[in-house]
C-alpha cells in the first residue's frame, strides 16, 4: 500500500497490491500526496489531490481507486449524496469490472443506511450479496444486513445471516473481526432463548481450543441473559438452569494441576466467574459457598477477600465488607478501601483519620491521600481546612477549581476569581474557568460583570459546552438574548 499507510486505512479504502505494482512512479507519488492529507484529516485538500490524480492519470490502473478515495473524502466531509452520485456511482459506471466497483456498491449501501434510507440500503446489500457471494465484502454486507434486521426487529432474518456468518464463512485474518462479533451475537440470542448448547456451539466455532477466551466470552454473553431471566419469577427457573449449565461447563474447564502458575491464575479466574454467575442469578448462598471453596483451594489472600468484600458491599452488608478489608495483608490498600467506604457513608472524620495514618505509612502516595482528605473536608463543609489541604496538592487546575469553589462557599469572591483566572491558563479548563467567573460575580451580586463574563464565555469559547450553559443562563436568569456566541459545525 502506498506510503505504508494501509494499517491506518480501512479495507474499503485500501489499494490492491497488484494495482500498486502496475502504477508508474509519478502516479504513486501523486497518490501518496493525496493519501497523506487524507490520513491527516485534511479532506478538502485530499479531495483536490485525488481530483488532480484523475485529471493527470485518467487511464491509470489506480484511477478507479482515486475515484473511490475521492468519494471517501466527500463522505468524511459529510457530503453523502455527492459521494454516492458523483463518486461511488462513477466508479461503477466507468470501471464496472474493477475491485473498486464492488467496494463502491457496498459503500452505496452503507451511505443509504447512513442517510436513513434503510430500504434502499438493504436492497443494495442484498443485490451485492447475490452478485458477489464469495467476495470478502460479502462478510461486511452480511453484518450490515444483520444490524438492519436488528433495527427492524426482524429476528428471523437476523439469525439467518448470523448463522451464515458464523457457520458458513471461511475464517481468515480479514473476516475474523466480523465472524467473532457474529459468533457472540448469535450466542447471546441463543442464551436469551435458553438454548445453552446452541449458544456454546456458536462460540466454539471461534474459540474452541482456547479455553480461556471460550470461558471468558461464554461468561460475558450468558451473564445478562441469566440476570434478566432470573429477575422475573416466571422465567427464574430457566435463568437458574442456564446459569447452572454455564457453571457446569466452566467447572469442566478448571485446571486440576494448580502448581503451575498459569493454571492457578486461570483456575482462580474461572472460580470468580462461577461466583459471578451465581450472583447474577440471585443465589446468595451459592455465592458464599463458592468463595468458601475458593479459600479452601487457594488459601486466604487479599484478592479473594477483596472480591468477597465487594460482594458484601453490593449486598449492602457494609460492616462485613469493612471487617474483611481490615483483614487485608496489604494494610495500606485495605485501609484505603475502608476510608473510601466511610466517605460513601458520609463519615468524613473517620475517613480523614485513616487517610492521615496512610500519609505516614505510604508516603509515596501522599498526594493521593492529601486530595482525599481535602475532598472529605470539602464534603463536610469545612472549607478553610479544605483549602489548606488542596493547596498541598499539585494536580492543577483541578485543585484551583476546588479551592475556588471553597472560597465561594466562604464568600471570598476575590480569592475565587484569582484562582479561576489562574486556571484559564490551562487550555482545556479555560472555558469552565470563564463560566465559573460569571457564577462567582453573580453570587457576589455583581450582575453587570457576571453578564459580561457569561457573554465572554459564549464569544471566546463558542463551541464548548460551557458556551451552551452560559447562553441558557443568560436567557433564563437575566432574560438577555444577546449572548454573543455563534459558531459553525466543522
Amino acid at each position: 500500500m502506498a506510503g505504508g499507510a494501509c494499517a491506518k486505512l480501512d479495507y474499503v479504502e485500501q489499494l490492491p497490491l497488484d494495482t500498486y505494482a502496475k502504477m508508474r512512479e509519478t502516479e504513486r507519488y501523486q497518490l501518496q500526496q493525496a493519501e497523506k492529507f487524507y490520513l491527516k484529516g485534511e479532506f478538502k485538500i485530499a479531495l483536490d489531490e485525488y481530483e488532480k490524480f484523475l485529471t493527470l492519470y485518467e487511464s491509470s490502473a489506480a484511477a478507479p481507486y482515486a475515484q473511490l478515495m475521492w468519494s471517501h473524502a466527500q463522505l468524511k466531509l459529510r457530503k453523502v449524496n455527492t459521494a454516492v452520485k458523483d463518486g461511488f456511482q462513477s466508479v461503477i459506471d466507468y470501471w464496472p469490472e474493477s475491485h473498486e466497483a464492488i467496494l463502491s456498491k457496498y459503500m452505496i449501501g452503507t451511505c443509504y443506511r447512513e442517510m436513513g434510507e434503510v430500504k434502499k440500503g438493504e436492497k443494495r446489500f442484498v443485490a451485492l450479496l447475490e452478485e458477489h457471494p464469495k467476495h470478502l465484502i460479502s462478510v461486511r454486507t452480511k453484518r450490515n444486513l444483520i444490524e438492519l434486521a436488528a433495527q427492524a426487529d426482524d429476528q428471523e432474518k437476523r439469525v439467518k445471516y448470523l448463522n451464515e456468518l458464523v457457520f458458513k464463512t471461511e475464517r481468515t485474518k480479514e473476516t475474523n473481526y466480523h465472524t467473532h462479533w457474529a459468533a457472540r451475537e448469535l450466542a447471546k440470542i441463543m442464551f436469551y432463548e435458553s438454548k445453552f448448547d446452541e449458544g456454546l456451539k456458536s462460540l466454539e466455532t471461534t474459540w474452541k481450543g482456547d479455553d480461556y477466551y471460550l470461558v471468558r466470552y461464554l461468561n460475558e454473553d450468558v451473564y445478562y441473559p441469566v440476570n434478566n431471566l432470573s429477575k422475573d419469577e416466571k422465567s427464574r427457573e430457566r435463568g437458574h438452569k442456564l446459569a447452572d449449565q454455564a457453571i457446569q461447563f466452566i467447572d469442566k474447564k478448571i485446571p486440576i494441576d494448580l502448581t503451575d502458575e498459569g493454571n492457578a491464575k486461570r483456575a482462580r479466574d474461572y472460580w470468580y466467574r462461577k461466583a459471578g454467575l451465581y450472583g447474577s442469578s440471585g443465589r446468595k448462598k451459592e455465592v458464599r459457598e463458592t468463595y468458601e471453596k475458593m479459600i479452601k483451594i487457594f488459601g486466604v489472600d487479599d484478592d479473594i477477600m477483596g472480591h468477597i468484600a465487594g460482594w458484601y458491599k453490593g449486598e449492602t452488608e457494609r460492616d462485613k465488607a469493612k471487617a474483611i478489608y481490615a483483614r487485608f495483608k496489604d494494610q495500606v490498600n485495605g485501609q484505603g478501601l475502608i476510608a473510601y467506604m466511610f466517605r460513601e457513608e458520609g463519615k468524613y472524620d473517620d475517613a480523614i483519620n485513616i487517610y492521615r495514618n496512610l500519609l505516614v505509612q505510604d508516603g509515596d502516595n501522599a498526594g493521593k491521600y492529601q486530595w482525599a482528605i481535602a475532598e472529605c473536608y470539602g464534603a463536610s463543609k469545612r472549607y478553610k481546612e479544605a483549602i489548606n489541604t488542596y493547596r498541598q496538592c499539585d494536580n492543577h487546575p483541578e485543585a484551583y477549581f476546588r479551592m475556588a469553589s471553597c472560597h465561594r462557599h466562604l464568600k471570598q469572591w476575590k480569592e475565587a476569581l484569582v484562582l479561576y483566572n489562574q486556571s484559564k491558563s490551562y487550555e482545556g479548563a479555560a472555558s469552565n474557568a470563564q463560566i465559573q467567573i460569571g457564577y462567582t460575580y453573580e453570587q457576589a451580586g455583581e450582575k453587570e460583570k457576571a453578564i459580561k463574563a457569561f457573554q465572554q464565555t459564549c464569544r471566546v469559547y463558542p463551541k464548548s459546552g460551557n458556551a451552551s450553559r452560559a447562553h441558557a443562563h443568560l436567557q433564563n436568569a437575566y432574560k438577555i438574548s444577546v449572548t454573543l456566541g455563534g459558531a459553525k459545525e466543522e
Binding site: R78, V80, K120, A152, H471, G485, G486, A487
Partner: protein, 515 residues
Amino acid sequence: MKVDFSRLKPWFKQRWEPENRPWTLTWTHLFAWCLCWLDWTAWHRFPEFLIWLVFTGAAAPLWYWYRRAFSDGSIIRKRVYYSGCILPVWCWCTFTCYAMGWMALSVFFARAGLVISFFTGLLWVVWYVEKESIAIQYARLAEAKNKKSSLAKDAPLEYAGPLGSMGGPFAHFKFAERLWHPCDLNAWYYGEGRQKLHQSLGTVFSYTALFCFLVMLLTSLAGCSEIYEMPAGGGERKQVQQVVKVQKVIKKKFVINPLSAVLFNPPPIDEIKLQLLEITKHAYAVGYGQGEGAGFAGGTNRGKVRFIRLEYNGGDWDQDFGKGADLNLLIEYGIRTGHKVASKTESRKTSDLKNFPKRKSPPMVYITGQKNISMSKKDQKILRDYLLEKHGMIFADNGGSGRWHGQFFNMMRTVLPNVQPIKVPLDHPVHRVPYPIPFLPYVAPHGGKDAWGWVVDGRLAVYYHPGDIGDAWSDGHAGIKTEYWELCFQLGVNVIFYAHAEYNKWLDAVKQDED
C-alpha cells in the same frame, strides 16, 4: 315546512320592551362573543378585526351592568359582576396580544386567566356551600325545637358546644335515614367526626375535577376541525443562483495623434477594464410544480405558509415565540421566496394535529424549548400519525440545554421506534435548496454540533437543530456574527421550503394514484 314569522313578531317585540332590552342585547352579544371565541380557537374563518371588535364590544354590556350592580350597594351583586368580568377581560387581553403578535404575552394572559378563573370559581363554590350548610343547620335546629320535623322524632338532639361545632355541625342528631345533600354536614359520607374538613376537601376535589373536565371539554370543542392550505403557484426546487448581468459597458476611445509631441502610453485593448455592475436575482420562482407565480401547485389562492409551533407539557415551548422572534423567519421566508405567508406565527397542542384533515394538514410544525418534554401516549400516537399518515414534518430546535436534547431524542424513540436518527449530510436537499448551506450554523452547541434527522421512506420527517437557531432569528440575533445569523435564516427558509415541497410531492403522488 313553512315558518310563520308573523307569530315570532310579538315575541321579538316583547324582547325589545325597555325593561327587557338590556337582557336581550346582553344575550345577543354573548351569543356573538361565543361564536367569535369558537372561530378564534377552532374555525379560523372570521377576520381578526371582527373578532377583536366583538371582544372589545363586550365593554358596553359590562359598563351597563356595572352601573346596575353598583346602584343598590349589594356586595354580592358587585362580586358577581367582578367575577362575570373575568372571562371577557381575560379573552380580550389574550386575543389582543395574539392579534398584535405578542405571543409570549398572549400565552401569559391565557395561563393567568385560567388560574384566576379557577380560584374565583373556587371561592364562589366555598361561599355557597358554607352558606347553605349553615342555613340547613339553623333550619334543622329550629325544627328540632319546634318538634315539627319528622326527622327530629327519631333524632335526639345533642348540642356539640363551641369547640365541637368548629369541626362539625352545631348539634348531633341520630337519623333513621342516610342524608345525601353535600351542603349538609350530617350527610353520611362526611362520617362521624371532622365533618367540616371532609366537606371542605370534598368541595375542593369535586370543584377541581369539574373545572378540569370543563377545560378539557372546551379545549376539545375548540379543536373541531381546521385546515392548512399552501399558497398556490409553482416553481422549481433549485438552489438560489447568483446571476451576473452586464448592465453597462463603457468603452473608452483613445484618440491619439501619432505625430503628437506628447508621449502617450495607451493601454492595450485587453487591459481596458469593463465597468460591470453585478446584480443578483432569482433566475426562477422558488416553489414546486406548475403554476403562476412562486408557490406550490397543490396550494390554493387563499393559502399561506404558516409557522405553527407545538405546545407540550413540561417545558417552555413558547421560547422566542411571536413578534420579534420566530415571526422574523416567517417574514424573511415570504420575502426570499415570494410565497404568501401568514401575518403571525401560531401554536397548537399536539392533540390539535388530529383535527387537520389528511391532505390539508400543516407540512411542518416547529418545536423548541430547554426544559422537559412530557407527552402522553395518546399524543405520541397523534404525532406518529401526523408524521406517517399525514406526511408532516417536525422542525425541532434545541433552545438551550443538553437535557432537552435527551428529552427530544427519547420522545422520538417512542414516536418513531423503528427509525434510527441520522446525521443530516451537508449536501442533503434540506441543506442545499433554495440556499446552499456550507456548514451548520448555531448560536450555542446545546445538543452537539450536528443536525440530526429521522428519515421515513426517503423523506426527512424530523429535522433537529442542536444549537438554538430560533435565537438567531429573533431581534438582535443573539449578538452573533452576521454571517452566522444570515445562514440561520437561510437554513430556516430551507427547512420550511423542504417540508412544503415534500408535502406537495406527496399530494401529487396521492392524486396520481387516485387517477
